[in-house]
């Protein structure tokens, strides 16, 4: 089978989160923007160093929660008042204190599910294949390795200059990431 190989970017491996953070800082100074760091656990401040400050997740969760609240309240109100009114112990048909539990549970359910699904969607998951996985050594990124990748799509990317820049940082490994299209 014939495959066409494209360069996805250059990836450097570091032994510690601090070395990685230093690399991120220098790369930002050099003006690289299409970059990402890969770590086995969340490293404090790394996202901020990469210029990622906001997350849409809180808004997604809020909207999900409001939707759940309205759906729960509306469903009970509609069914108890209009669709199937019933006299239970002389209570008014809209006996809203009894509806609080289900409304609350649906609020939490919708908020939680939209947060979880929203996180996956925002992160572009599930995505079983990614060019980075073509680097065998990348399996350490979920174990004990700290990786930094400058993508070829970066406007400042220059095969020679970028490679030399990463080499000067004395990484534990330096890899060209191929994208087999």
């Amino acid at each position: 089978m014939k495959t066409r190989s494209l360069l996805y970017g250059f990836m450097a491996e570091f032994g510690s989160p601090d070395a990685l953070k230093e690399c991120v800082r220098l790369a930002r100074v050099e003006g690289y923007r299409r970059v990402d760091a890969y770590t086995p656990f969340p490293v404090e401040g790394l996202a901020e160093d990469l210029g990622i400050h906001r997350s849409p997740i809180p808004l997604i969760v809020l909207i999900g929660g409001i939707a759940g609240l309205l759906a729960g309240a509306a469903m009970q109100y509609y069914s108890a008042v209009f669709d199937y009114p019933m006299n239970i112990g002389g209570r008014p048909v809209n006996s809203w204190p009894s509806f609080v539990m289900v409304t609350f549970e649906l609020t939490v359910l919708f908020a939680g599910l939209s947060g979880a699904i929203g996180m996956l969607v925002v992160n572009g998951l599930p995505r079983p294949h990614h060019p980075l996985f073509n680097v065998a050594r990348f399996e350490r990124a979920t174990q004990d390795g700290f990786f930094f990748c400058i993508e070829a799509a970066d406007p400042n990317f220059d095969p020679e200059k970028t490679w030399r820049f990463l080499e000067d940082l004395k990484p534990e490994g330096l890899y060209a990431v191929q994208d087999f299209a």
Binding site: F41, V61, A111, G118
Partner: protein, 448 residues
């Protein structure tokens, strides 16, 4: 508060990952695993038998009848769901309170929650009378033109328990995605790698991923915290909404929530103590964990004891003849031996935990945890049965004795819980690797 989280035996990211993941990825299964899972399997078969017989013959095979229409089924439902609550306490509430020691126990505590809620959820459904119509409880468009009765605590239960199960699962699963990716990358067998890979969903630990992931995790913890309080509140409403003496009380929601967490912590200890010994995890689940959980158990136990006291006081202070009768009847009536056993196992014995020498002896702590498991079960039995068996009119008094099918169903769910738990520890990392490594890094950063 953060020192000695994991013992300072010089773990690195590499050794920590290796230690936890190799428990799963090793082809060797400890003999004791087969023993435990085998017992669980037999119990599960017993559960299937009991349920099959129930479906054939109806709830009459249980000892329930009027006036005691709620027997072991409801006792066990409340007991199991209460056990689940400690898992959420450890995973969500302690997370929000920034207690990093929780990180070596939260994964299996959450798994415990899932399995306990699974067992709990079976009971109200089986108790329905015609369990095959359980879906009538869900609001779905149907040709009968019916809706669930929103004023019924049973319907609240359906929403509370199913939401709790769903959110607990989501919380557990989202928390496990990075670890599933680690398992994918460490697995040597092609198919094992593929299976973990499917569930890891292509996680690559990018800083962007982590950023959104941590936000989501924090929000889920924030959602799970009021949820867990609401679930046992709704369970207590099953009782408190009724006008029966001994049930119709405003103290029930906080009293039930404290009792739930109390029983759940006892179950976490019951599972953690043998587990750390079996898998040699003493350096990850340290004595400090055992001590902290013992302290939490003592604290919630004191709240429970206080609730008993207030309940008794209110019965007297209300001047209501029926309320005082129920209270006296609990202590002196036909079920009094259960009441005093409850006081002994649930209130008196756990007071030994005030002593730090007791808390540092795993055998004693294990014994007390078992005692609390029993005590909390007895508490639910006393609440359910003694209130029902003597209500307003002596003509409607009765007695309840569980039948062998009651016991078979209970032992069956214990078996199902055991089996699910053993399968979990064989197939999934029982301690969160990413969180442990994060803790290690933070500690090193502080040490510098």
């Amino acid at each position: 508060m953060t020192s000695n989280n994991i013992s300072t035996s010089g773990h690195t990211y590499t050794t920590l990952t290796g230690k936890i993941s190799s428990l799963v990825l090793t082809p060797r299964t400890p003999l004791l695993w087969f023993v435990g899972a085998g017992i669980g399997f037999l119990g599960t078969m017993l559960l299937f038998t009991a349920v099959a017989w129930l479906l054939l013959r109806g709830v009459g095979i249980w000892g329930v009848n009027i006036p005691i229409a709620w027997g072991l089924a409801i006792v066990n439902f409340v007991w199991w769901i209460g056990i689940g609550h400690a898992g959420t306490l450890i995973s969500a509430i302690l997370f929000l309170m920034r207690q990093p020691w929780r990180q070596s126990i939260n994964r299996f505590a959450e798994a415990m929650t899932l399995f306990a809620v699974t067992c709990a959820g079976l009971y109200p459904l089986l108790h329905l009378g015609r369990p095959w119509f359980f879906y009538w409880l869900a609001p779905y468009p149907n040709t009968m033109g019916l809706w669930p009765q929103w004023r019924s605590p049973l319907v609240w239960d359906v929403f509370a328990v199913s939401t709790y199960l769903t959110i607990s699962f989501v919380f557990w699963f989202i928390g496990m995605i990075p670890d599933l990716a680690t398992m994918r990358d460490r697995a040597t067998h092609r198919y094992v790698r593929m299976i973990y890979g499917i569930f890891a969903m292509g996680w690559r630990g990018s800083a962007r991923h982590w950023h959104h992931y941590e936000t989501t995790y924090l929000l889920l913890a924030g959602l799970a915290t009021p949820l867990v309080v609401s679930v046992h509140t709704v369970v207590s409403f099953d009782f408190a909404i009724a006008i029966l003496p001994g049930w119709h009380s405003t103290i029930f929601p906080p009293y039930f929530v404290a009792g739930a967490i109390y029983s759940g912590l006892a179950m976490v200890l019951t599972l953690a103590i043998p587990l750390r010994r079996l898998y040699r995890l003493e350096e990850l689940v340290t004595m400090r964990h055992i001590e902290n959980m013992s302290k939490l158990m003592l604290a919630t136990g004191v709240i429970v004891a206080y609730s008993y006291l207030v309940e008794t006081f209110t019965a007297w202070y209300s001047g209501n003849a029926y309320e005082s009768f129920v209270t006296v009847n609990r202590a002196m009536g036909p079920y009094s031996w259960l009441y005093w056993l409850l006081v002994a196992t649930n209130i008196v014995l756990p007071q030994a935990l005030w002593s730090s020498r007791v808390r540092s002896n795993v055998f004693v702590v294990f014994g007390i945890a078992l005692s609390v498991n029993l005590g909390m079960w007895l508490e639910r039995f006393v609440i359910v049965v003694t209130s029902l068996h003597r209500d307003f009119l002596p003509s409607s008094w009765g007695m309840y004795v569980p039948t062998r099918w009651d016991w078979a169903t209970f032992v069956g769910t214990l078996g199902l819980f055991t089996l699910l738990f053993f399968i979990f520890i064989r197939l999934l990392p029982m301690i969160s690797m990413s969180e442990m490594k994060q803790m290690l890094q933070k500690r090193e950063a502080r040490a510098e």
